[in-house]
């Protein structure tokens, strides 16, 4: 479990991340995204239609005890993680789409997460002692949305400060995960050793299955390969640290310890998974770009006429 200090620090870092996320957006970016809502809608369907279902299904199939099930379902219901933007950038994807999907899913989370959580934990027959009150989710999100708005306003008023915030926010996204690794793993290595394979399967599977389904759904809905890859990353990468915050707010003691396991493990593994997937996507993007160039410029070599 996390100490009080660590929880506060985590909260603070998340606020900085949200500040950065807000600073990467302008009001106009939203207006432009909504002119063609298809991409955003696909993102929302993946984020709140697919992922919670995947989390729920894995929890049922793997026969998880309530503490683990709650953790997994919570992870599935989370909005997109901000690190997805960094991975979208490196995979040569559509960064603007990634930023937009992360922001909008975070805004919608206020309503979506409590509802989906209640629905799926109910379906899984999880007892009320493991229930995550909607007010807790709302509390955390509101605290995080205020910095987002501040970020957006700052960007408008002073682009220099805004762009600096955006940069710091991006670094913080990675740093937060490193922070979790450094604070949590050493203390809990015994727990980790005793953790059954099914848990590892679930946390890695949530990410990978999410990415695969996100890609398929996007292609099915006629998005081009590059956009689909970006949507895939966006779908699979959930906001792990946000889940950690919600858990520490809701549970204490041994229960917190148990429920925290999946969010923390997910956060660790998603970075690894995303890195591999990103490198793979990047190679695909390069190959496609090369093919496009060759078709266009046509290094034409013709035999004599």
């Amino acid at each position: 479990m996390l100490t009080e200090f660590e929880t506060q620090l985590l909260g603070l870092m998340m606020m900085v991340i949200m500040l950065g996320m807000g600073a990467s957006l302008t009001y106009r970016d939203f207006l432009i995204a909504f002119r063609r809502p298809k991409g955003v809608l696909i993102g929302l369907v993946c984020q709140y239609g697919l992922m919670p279902f995947v989390g729920f299904t894995l929890a049922i199939l793997l026969n998880f005890p309530p503490a683990l099930a709650v953790g997994l379902i919570l992870m599935g219901c989370m909005p997109g993680g901000t690190t997805s933007n960094i991975f979208a950038y490196f995979s040569k994807g559509v960064l603007a789409l990634s930023i937009m999907m992360t922001s909008i899913s975070t805004l919608v989370a206020l309503v979506a997460v409590p509802a989906l959580l209640a629905f799926y934990t109910g379906m899984a027959g999880i007892g009320s002692e493991f229930a995550v009150p909607a007010s807790n989710v709302a509390q955390v999100l509101v605290v995080l949305l205020v910095p987002t708005l501040i970020g957006m306003v700052t960007r408008k008023l002073n682009p220099n400060i805004g762009a600096t915030m955006e940069l710091i926010g991006s670094f913080m996204g990675i740093f937060v995960i490193l922070f979790l690794i450094v604070t949590w793993v050493p203390r809990n290595h015994m727990l980790l050793a005793a953790t059954p394979v099914s848990v590892y399967f679930a946390v890695i599977g949530l990410g990978l299955i999410g990415m695969a389904l996100g890609f398929l759904l996007a292609r099915l809905l006629r998005q081009d390969r590059n956009r689909s890859r970006t949507i895939a990353l966006e779908t699979g990468i959930q906001n792990g640290p946000l889940a950690v915050l919600i858990v520490t707010l809701t549970f204490t003691g041994a229960m917190q310890q148990e429920v925290l396991l999946i969010p923390v493990l997910y956060s660790l593994f998603i970075v690894l998974t995303s890195t591999f997937v990103t490198l793979f996507f990047r190679r695909l993007a390069d190959r496609e770009a090369l093919a496009r160039d060759q078709a266009k410029t046509g290094s034409v070599s013709q035999a004599s006429r």
Binding site: T26, R28, L31, I32, R35, R36, R155, P159, N160, G162, A163, T164, E166, L167, T297, G298, S299, V300, S301, Q302, A303, S304, R305
Partner: protein, 596 residues
């Protein structure tokens, strides 16, 4: 020889009256550019409503600014650095090789104030191209963007350059954005190479200049540098291939530039409110159009100048367009077309835009039409050459736009249209454009034969063939010179052919232009394999070879391998036959597209 305008010397004056252009140019406001810059900065520091004189905006929105007073001050220091610290004299050539940024006006104005001659150079030039230009001009000092400092060792050894000043893209930015941009450049993008030759950074150069100036009597003393510079003295050596393709320096004087600024302001004046404009400078300042129009012209009316270091991809302009009240733009067809394909631009076109100028290459009527629809503002195509500083003609901003026309001559300009036999043609007939006016260059630097070939009795032969109607509106119908315009940049087949001919695998080569949707025209090389050379001739190899010696825009987009090239009886390659082939090929494609 009967001049067609014998009865009405300048038929277009009637149009001037209609649209509110003063036909006579006022007398020169200043004897030289040093005085002009100092005066403009002093006046507009007081009167302009602009938030800054120059603002540089990088793609993520980070920006830095210089006020009119600051630009004046810093350019004084740079002038002092050149004259006192480096000991340069009036007329010495100083090269500037940077993308748009805050350092550019400081350095350019400093050079002009010092009475030295500015040699604008494309920062993307390969060392080979740099050596050719700097040797020809006899450049003594070079101001280079730090990103390309790795080109220096191979260049310095072969030229007369004795002093190197380095500047960065984020020069003069506030501390934190500057540090972040440099950090990203150095560590992340790795575009800042280590510098192995003696050099001075711009900040140090300015500090030295300031110290020297203070010793000499303070800022007032700086005015002595330009006090005695006469209008006919050289301000720029602007390199171009002209009509023959051999790169040479057009000698542009203070008078040429000051007059062309007046001409430009006369043509656009109806849409310009002094002290209240904000111009977007996406075109590079080292290109003569942006130099005269954006750098000098808009300074004259106290506008805020938004400098864009890298306009490709066109998305880089988004934050600049969103955050600043842009009222004017200069651009080429590629830029306007690019913007019209960006959702963020079409959805929210800048509300404050008043007018745009298109130069460098012909503006496609489809692009012009769409631009007018989307922005609800006029876009005026103009025509000019490096040799004419550059503006020759311009479409008036009022009234019905004439599609495909390059407009009427600017005030103070005389035009003749001449056929192959040297006879003036009448209205509606095609002839080579000859220009006479205060904007015409003095000649080519150290190239008397080339100069004599184009300049006769003050008339400049442009190599462009046009028709004029009885109101004075002109339309380009052909290009006499073998030149290819890639996004407004001149590319000369000779230069490319020379480079490709160096390849062992190539026996013969001919380079022509092909139409291109994105860039207007593109470069194509027809090559013949050398039978004595082992191994096949690969198009990729030709392109790779070109990339080593030529800036990217000159590299051929397509390579066609042939058994032989069409030639005259004496063995001269007939480029026009290949051009005809290209034309036929494109017409077939057009037909195929229309009837799939």
């Amino acid at each position: 020889m009967q001049h067609p305008f014998a009865n009405t010397p300048r038929p277009w004056v009637a149009v001037y009256r209609e649209v509110g252009i003063t036909p006579e140019l006022p007398p020169l406001s200043h004897p030289n550019l040093g005085a002009f810059v100092h005066d403009a900065c002093t006046r507009w520091a007081r009167e302009s409503k602009a938030k800054a004189a120059f603002t540089c905006v990088v793609p993520n929105g980070m920006n830095g600014s210089l006020s009119f007073a600051k630009v004046d001050e810093l350019s004084d220091y740079f002038a002092a650095y050149l004259r006192e610290v480096l000991g340069l004299h009036v007329g010495d050539r100083v090269a500037v090789q940077m993308p748009n940024g805050l350092a550019y006006p400081v350095v350019a104005f400093g050079i002009l104030k010092a009475g030295c001659v500015l040699v604008n150079t494309n920062p993307l030039y390969t060392p080979a191209e740099m050596v050719h230009q700097y040797k020809d001009a006899g450049v003594k000092a070079l101001v280079l963007i730090d990103m390309f400092a790795d080109k220096l060792p191979s260049v310095l050894a072969m030229t007369t350059i004795k002093h190197v000043v380095l500047a960065g893209v984020s020069e003069f930015f506030p501390l934190i954005p500057k540090a972040i941009i440099r950090g990203v450049q150095k560590v992340w993008a790795q575009v800042l190479p280590p510098v192995t030759v003696p050099h001075t950074r711009i900040a140090a150069a300015l500090a030295q200049g300031r110290a020297a100036l203070q010793k000499a009597g303070g800022r007032l003393h700086a005015q002595n540098y330009w006090k005695s510079i006469q209008p006919h003295e050289l301000a720029l050596l602007q390199y171009t291939g002209g009509t023959t393709g051999v790169s040479k320096g057009a000698m542009i004087t203070h008078s040429n530039l000051l007059h062309n600024v007046q001409q430009m302001l006369a043509m656009g004046g109806t849409h310009m409110a002094p002290g209240k404009e904000c111009v977007l400078t996406a075109l590079p300042i080292y290109h003569i159009l942006a130099f005269t129009a954006n750098l000098l012209g808009f300074l004259a009316i106290g506008a805020q100048n938004i400098l864009i270091p890298s306009p490709r991809p066109v998305q880089n302009l988004q934050r600049a367009v969103e955050n600043y009240p842009i009222t004017w733009m200069t651009g080429v067809n590629t830029l306007y077309n690019g913007l019209l394909n960006e959702e963020w631009f079409v959805a929210y076109p800048p509300k404050t835009l008043k007018a745009s100028i298109a130069g460098g290459t012909s503006l496609h009527s489809a692009v012009a039409k769409r631009w007018r629809e989307v922005t609800k503002t006029p876009i005026a195509e103009g025509y000019g050459l490096t040799e004419t500083s550059p503006v020759v003609s311009f479409n008036p901003l009022h009234g019905e736009p004439r599609l495909g026309s390059i407009g009427i001559p600017a005030p103070g300009t005389d035009i003749r249209l001449v056929d192959e036999n040297g006879v003036d043609v009448s209205f509606g007939q095609g002839g080579e454009i000859y220009v006479k006016g205060p904007q015409v260059m003095q000649g080519y630097w150290h190239q008397p034969a080339e100069t004599a070939a184009v300049l006769r009795d003050g008339w400049l032969a442009t190599g462009d063939v046009a028709e004029m109607d009885d109101q004075g509106f002109m339309q380009i119908i052909d290009r006499k010179k073998d030149m290819i315009l890639v996004s407004g940049f001149n590319v000369y087949p000779n230069e490319i052919e020379d480079v490709i001919a160096q390849m062992d695998a190539v026996l013969e080569v001919a380079v022509v232009g092909t139409p291109d949707e994105k860039t207007g025209e593109a470069v194509r090389a027809y090559v013949v394999h050398n039978p004595e050379h082992e191994g096949a001739l690969q198009p990729e190899a030709v392109i790779a070879h070109c990339r080593k010696f030529l800036a990217a825009y000159k590299v051929p987009k397509s390579i066609v391998i042939r058994e032989e090239l069409p030639k005259t009886v004496v063995g001269k390659v007939l480029r026009k036959d290949l051009k005809a082939e290209v034309k036929a090929e494109w017409q077939e494609q057009l037909k195929a597209n229309l009837h799939p």
